[in-house]
């Protein structure tokens, strides 16, 4: 398995969506939209490009398929490696958030900036 570094947001959200259970393509798109508060709506091209990479890396696997009204639906599942990668990414983001929070707190405790009076010409 290749450890993902600098995981992009769509990839992270796809893994997060699959953490809740097996989903087919359109199910992943809907779940990603919900997770991102409607901000990110994946196109089919982006979704299947990401799924292809995730399957090659062993983070996602296909666990079944069905045909509804002539349309093929495949169900995807997060593998153990995928769950580990997602967990690592969550920890990484938590660390970044903790650092950012600390910096923000530090900024609030700073004295207000002194404004210089305009120099007389």
């Amino acid at each position: 398995m290749r450890i993902l570094t600098n995981m992009q947001e769509p990839t992270f959200l796809i893994l997060a969506a699959l953490a809740g259970g097996d989903l087919h393509g359109y199910g992943i798109i809907k779940e990603v939209e919900t997770l991102s508060d409607g901000r990110l709506r994946l196109s089919a091209g982006t979704l299947y490009g990401a799924l292809d990479r995730l399957k090659n890396d062993g983070l996602v696997e296909v666990v079944g398929e069905e045909r509804i009204e002539g349309r093929l639906r495949r169900y995807h599942r997060l593998t153990d490696s995928g769950a580990n990668a997602l967990e690592q990414e969550i920890h990484r983001q938590e660390r970044v958030i903790a650092v950012a929070k600390a910096k923000l707190e530090g900024r609030r405790s700073l004295p207000a900036p002194v404004t210089r009076p305009a120099e007389a010409s």
């Binding site: 087919h24 393509g25 359109y26 798109i29 709506r41 196109s43 089919a44 091209g45 982006t46 979704l47 299947y48 490009g49 292809d52 990479r53 398929e65 349309r71 093929l72 639906r73 495949r74």
Partner: protein, 313 residues
């Protein structure tokens, strides 16, 4: 089948063939699900996304993602496009002497021969064969044949300049940069991994080459003023160029090899024009071009020796 479905099915061809077989139906099913649910994204945008991501997937699978490999493959693609362009211009060279007296009867005394030139036919067939061989991955035959065709091409240019007294102006020899650029690209840029264009790409490149040749015949070869035909023709040209540029940018964004190939193709006329503008002196181009033949031979031989696989045992 709705137009949108057809469009998405067509856009799926951007993906590698195995992906189309394994996941094509699933992708189309997902798009249909999105459309049924009243997706805001139009079917055009879905098709564009398929084209972009499919092209990108081809690149990611064909290279290890390194800039070196991408540059080499892009340069080799550029060489293939230049070869296809030469095949297209070969049609122009063939048709022009037949077309010109017909379109401009007043020029007939200057063009008494309306028969096909054997040299031009040989060059046209040669360029086409080189493109076919190299685009289908047969470099062992394609590269030596390219050397032969380039030698014929240079010989024709030399004969042309000699017929004008042995001297020429740079601007006269329209493609003098090609005998330098192509061997360099093929000898040093050709990647060890086999290059193979898909059939739709081969068809598209050849159609593009024929369109260039047709445009030259219609707009430059028959000697009439394009503006005399009205601005409709001008707008058609502008629109076609815009469409080509948009497709080129999209292809280049998703697969940088197309961007590199585009730069190579654009480089040739740009450098030609720069030298044509700056070189007012009358250098003996014939001698220069004759010197290119051994350089071509040496470069191709060097590359061929590097491609050779040592026998075991």
């Amino acid at each position: 089948m709705r137009f949108g479905d057809r469009l998405c099915r067509w856009a799926l061809h951007a993906y590698p063939r195995d992906f189309q077989h394994e996941s094509g139906e699933e992708v189309l099913g997902t798009i249909a699900d999105m459309q049924d649910a009243g997706a805001k994204r139009g079917v055009l945008r879905q098709a564009a996304s398929l084209g972009y991501n499919g092209n990108r997937l081809r690149w990611l699978r064909a290279t290890d993602g390194s800039m070196r490999q991408t540059l080499r493959q892009g340069a080799a693609w550029g060489a293939l496009l230049l070869i296809a362009r030469q095949a297209g211009l070969g049609i122009y060279e063939l048709v022009r002497p037949l077309w010109l007296p017909w379109a401009r009867p007043s020029l007939l005394p200057q063009y008494p021969q309306t028969a096909l030139s054997v040299v031009e036919v040989a060059l046209f067939v040669g360029w086409l064969a080189v493109f076919g061989l190299l685009a289908s991955g047969r470099r062992r035959w394609g590269l030596p044949l390219l050397g032969l065709v380039l030698a014929g091409f240079v010989a024709r240019e030399v004969a042309f300049s000699l017929s004008y007294g042995g001297h020429f102006s740079w601007a006269f020899t329209l493609n003098f940069f090609l005998p330098i650029l192509l061997p360099v690209l093929c000898a040093f840029g050709w990647p060890a991994r086999r290059i193979r264009f898909s059939l739709p790409v081969i068809a598209a490149v050849l159609i593009g080459a024929v369109v260039i040749a047709a445009a030259r015949v219609v707009f430059w070869g028959v000697g009439f003023d394009p503006l005399g035909q009205g601005y409709v023709w001008w707008w058609i040209q502008v629109a076609l160029c815009l469409v080509a540029v948009v497709f080129g940018i999209l292809a280049g964004l998703s697969d940088p090899r197309w961007a590199i190939a585009g730069v190579v193709v654009a480089l040739q006329p740009v450098v030609r024009e720069i030298i044509a503008e700056s070189a007012g002196s009358r250098l003996s181009g014939a001698i220069l071009l004759m010197a290119l033949v051994p350089i071509v031979a040496v470069l191709l031989a060097f590359r061929a020796s590097r491609l050779a696989v040592p026998r075991r045992g």
